[in-house]
């Protein structure tokens, strides 16, 4: 209520009356003070900063800090520190003044020493917020903060220790962001300075796994927080962390107690991201065979972490070896490695999940584009078969915890194996495609008793349609494999149409089937026209499905695919399509991310139907002029989010105008009567287009002379297109008052 009323300036005495509760003499009852502090905290968290005057903020902070005094009872003290946590982002002015800042820090630090555990937890959470908001001011307090946090991590109970670790993770995340943004000079290197002392403590925490929590997905405790923090440290400290962590790993990886084996394995996986491949190389070569054998560890948690660590090795190191270095995963090693991984697919779903992920990352590391062969080629068939079988097992045991996740992981592993497959295994990809088709059809025949069963089936069919899409995409990359698809075309399209029909009732258009149909157009080319009568109703439904905007977006993309595939054969549908597209563009309820794509697809249609697009020219150019006007205005916002969206919009506008210029180009150049009319209409838009392109060149939001490269190139290409089909374009451009478009030419050159 305060959020609404303060915004409307309709509750001016709210803050003063709350403050009265805190300052009343004799003091208000404890319950009132506690509730007041909670309310102040909520208000600070929710209300827009600009609605609270600096005086209000000062008074709130004073009241809150007074509520934290050691003389206060536990309940209001706790409410006070939580309120301070929520209000800390408002204390910018106070953090600028040294004595005020030090006072606030002192009060919070005292909170970390309170007798109440909840109070200590809240105080450390408050310190995290302070680190996040006032990192540059931390220097003077770092020694004390280090002492307090490490003591808590080592000696306090789990919940407090977890929050003390989180303080360091917050600092690490802040520093990582600075380093990623190239602001090295602003980084105070707190993590690098503390790492030598912090790491041993964190590694020790890794061994304090809470067995019960490992089965609870929402759990977050000391060992987990420490694992997360070690990963952050590795990304900041890079190479120097390797010799610091390796002794812990070697000392514990074969320990009797599983806690130590798991901790060592986790530590190994945690340092794969950050250090250079060269610094890890020897250790990884040495450790890989050990990890493979540990997939059979008697303890489930160790096996799970081992599979994850293997995935980390494959993701970060495998395939990134220095030039000339032997591959980390050698051909000789593959049979043993794959046998072990496949064997572990039969493990519990939690383990199998990471095994699938490891297989997926292994495949990505071998990605060879469209090479003739790959080290995985001899094993591909068996690997995919085993993954498929494993997925079936998980699917048939849905009650087993995490089986759903493992099933998806198995399918995605298959997908990445297909994506990265070499030419010598394409025949098998073709076989897989037919297997998937059969599976989809078999599922279509399964009677569905309930809404829940129908939704579950739609998800499964989505996964199969995804696999179908990936198979087709891979086959289409090679001309002969694409030809081999011809006998299956009707069956593929019939199947996709059935899936679309089945889901049309409740779940709208099935996005995965739609995406697969888009890929299918690439496989068929102009022959797709025979499927148009049955397929176009789904395109129409998808375009009108604004509630699921991503489905709508995918449908727009697929319509582009269809236009490219069938060219002029799309003409009979164009009246309706253009009217839906224009209605969507003008509708305030259509998600704004779809609108640029809708403009783009108008360009696709113009390219497909060429001169016939003249019929829509006036209506489309009118909308485009509005869009260009919007885009020009957006530059003034000088804000990065607006800039990002504007670049999407620009792409849409450029695609549309360029598609129209080229689609109608032939008629215009030949000067047919229709062509002459189109030329005049398009010529009338030239000033708007030139002003639009100049606004792209003059946009300094991303920095002087920095552009989105795709947009810059496309904008220049558009000017070229216009000059090539409109005689007035060249002179018009030369006389254009703003020369900012030339900046784009310079940039592209």
């Amino acid at each position: 209520i305060a959020g609404i009323d303060l915004q409307a300036k309709e509750w001016p005495n709210l803050i003063p009356s709350l403050l009265n509760n805190m300052g009343a003499q004799p003091p208000a009852p404890v319950g009132t003070r506690q509730a007041t502090l909670m309310t102040l905290g909520y208000i600070c968290e929710e209300v827009d900063e600009s609605l609270l005057s600096p005086e209000n903020v000062n008074m709130i902070l004073t009241a809150v800090v007074a509520g934290m005094g050691p003389g206060e009872p536990d309940e209001p003290r706790l409410a006070a520190i939580r309120a301070l946590t929520n209000a800390i982002h408002l204390a910018k002015n106070n953090f600028e003044v040294e004595n005020e800042r030090s006072y606030l820090m002192q009060v919070v630090c005292q909170g970390t020493q309170a007798a109440s555990e909840q109070m200590r937890v809240a105080a450390f959470q408050c310190l995290q917020n302070i680190a996040d908001n006032y990192y540059p001011k931390l220097q003077a307090y770092m020694t004390e903060l280090y002492g307090m946090t490490t003591k808590a991590i080592k000696e306090d109970n789990d919940e407090v220790a977890t929050q003390a670790i989180e303080f360091w993770s917050t600092v690490a995340e802040y520093e990582l962001e600075l380093l990623d943004d190239g602001k090295d000079d602003e980084c105070k290197n707190f993590i690098v300075s503390a790492a030598d002392y912090l790491l041993p403590i964190l590694l020790e925490c890794l061994t304090k796994q809470d067995e019960e929590a490992l089965d609870d997905e929402g759990a977050w405790n000391r060992a987990m927080a420490a694992g997360f923090c070690v990963k952050l440290l590795a990304r900041i400290c890079r190479d120097r962390i390797v010799p610091q962590v390796m002794p812990f790993i070697t000392a514990n990886i074969s320990a009797q107690d599983w806690h130590f084996r798991e901790a060592a394995t986790f530590a190994f996986g945690s340092i794969m991201e950050g250090p250079s491949v060269a610094s890890l190389d020897a250790y990884v070569r040495q450790g890989l065979s050990y990890l493979v054998s540990a997939l059979k560890d008697p303890h489930r948690v160790v096996r799970e972490t081992t599979a994850w660590a293997l995935g980390q090795v494959f993701e970060q190191v495998h395939g990134a070896e220095a030039e000339g270095a032997a591959p980390i995963v050698s051909k000789e090693m593959l049979p043993g490695l794959l046998t072990a991984l496949v064997e572990s697919l039969k493990d519990e779903p939690r383990v199998a999940y990471y095994v699938c992920d490891a297989i997926r990352l292994l495949a990505l590391g071998f990605n060879t584009g469209d090479a003739d062969t790959s080290p995985l080629s001899p094993f591909l068939k068996d690997l995919i078969q085993k993954l498929y079988e494993a997925a079936e097992v998980f699917r048939n045991h849905p009650s087993q915890e995490n089986s759903g996740k493992a099933q998806i992981a198995a399918y995605e592993a298959i997908n990445d194996l297909v994506r990265t497959s070499a030419r010598d295994t394409l025949e098998f990809v073709g076989t897989l495609l037919t297997v998937v088709l059969n599976a989809i059809n078999a599922n279509l025949a399964v009677p569905l008793g309930s809404q829940q069963a129908a939704e579950k089936m739609a998800t499964l069919q989505g996964q199969f349609c995804g696999m179908l899409q990936v198979c087709m995409e891979r086959l289409c990359r090679s001309e002969d494999a694409r030809a081999a698809l011809v006998p299956y075309r009707d069956q593929i399209m019939e199947t996709l149409l059935k899936v679309l029909t089945m889901t049309q009732g409740g779940a709208g258009v099935h996005e995965e089937a739609m995406l697969a149909a888009g890929t299918f157009t690439v496989a068929t080319g102009p022959d797709f026209d025979k499927y148009l009568p049955q397929f176009m109703p789904f395109i129409r439904a998808g375009l009108q499905d604004h509630t699921a905007w991503q489905v709508c977006l995918s449908t727009v993309g697929v319509l582009g695919d269809v236009c490219r595939a069938v060219s002029a054969a799309i003409w009979p549908y164009c009246d309706e399509l253009v009217s839906i597209i224009l209605a969507n563009l003008g509708s305030p309820t259509v998600h704004r991310n779809i609108k640029p794509e809708l403009l783009t697809v108008l360009g696709d249609m113009a390219l497909a139907i060429e001169g016939q697009f003249a019929k829509y020219l006036d209506a489309v150019l009118t909308i485009l002029r509005q869009a260009m006007g919007m885009s020009v205005q957006m530059v003034a916002a000088n804000d990065y989010d607006t800039y990002d969206y504007n670049n999407m919009l620009r792409r849409g506008i450029i695609d549309a105008v360029s598609g129209i210029a080229q689609g109608l180009g032939d008629d215009m150049v030949k000067n047919t009567p229709a062509g002459a009319a189109s030329r005049d209409r398009l010529t009338a838009e030239l000033p708007a287009v030139f002003a639009f392109v100049s606004s792209v060149g003059g946009d300094k939001t991303a920095g002087d002379g920095c552009y989105d490269e795709d947009v810059a190139r496309a904008a220049i290409a558009l000017l070229g297109d216009l000059c090539s089909v409109l005689p007035a374009a060249g002179p018009g451009l030369a006389q254009q008052p703003s020369k900012d478009w030339t900046l784009l030419v310079q940039y592209v050159i």
């Binding site: 909520y42 409410a79 994850w308 996740k405 995409e473 102009p526 582009g560 598609g659 090539s724």
Partner: protein
């Protein structure tokens, strides 16, 4: 007022992110990428002033053929 611990969002299984949350998004992204390349090729084909065919096409690394 119970502030959500910063770590709560961090955990999937054991502090390891779940790459499959967006599995559908990946295919959507792949499709968008493929469409972009196909559009560029289609536009280039239509351009009468193409000077070096294939130069722009090689940028993406994808090799999607569209029948004419």
């Amino acid at each position: 007022m119970q502030p959500v611990p910063a770590g709560a969002e961090r955990t999937v299984f054991r502090a390891i992110r779940d790459p499959y949350q967006g599995y559908q998004a990946k295919r959507r992204q792949d499709a968008l990428q493929r469409q972009k390349v196909a559009r560029l090729q289609s536009a280039n084909r239509a351009r009468t002033l193409v000077q070096e065919p294939g130069q722009e096409e090689s940028e993406s690394g994808l090799d999607v053929e569209v029948d004419e």
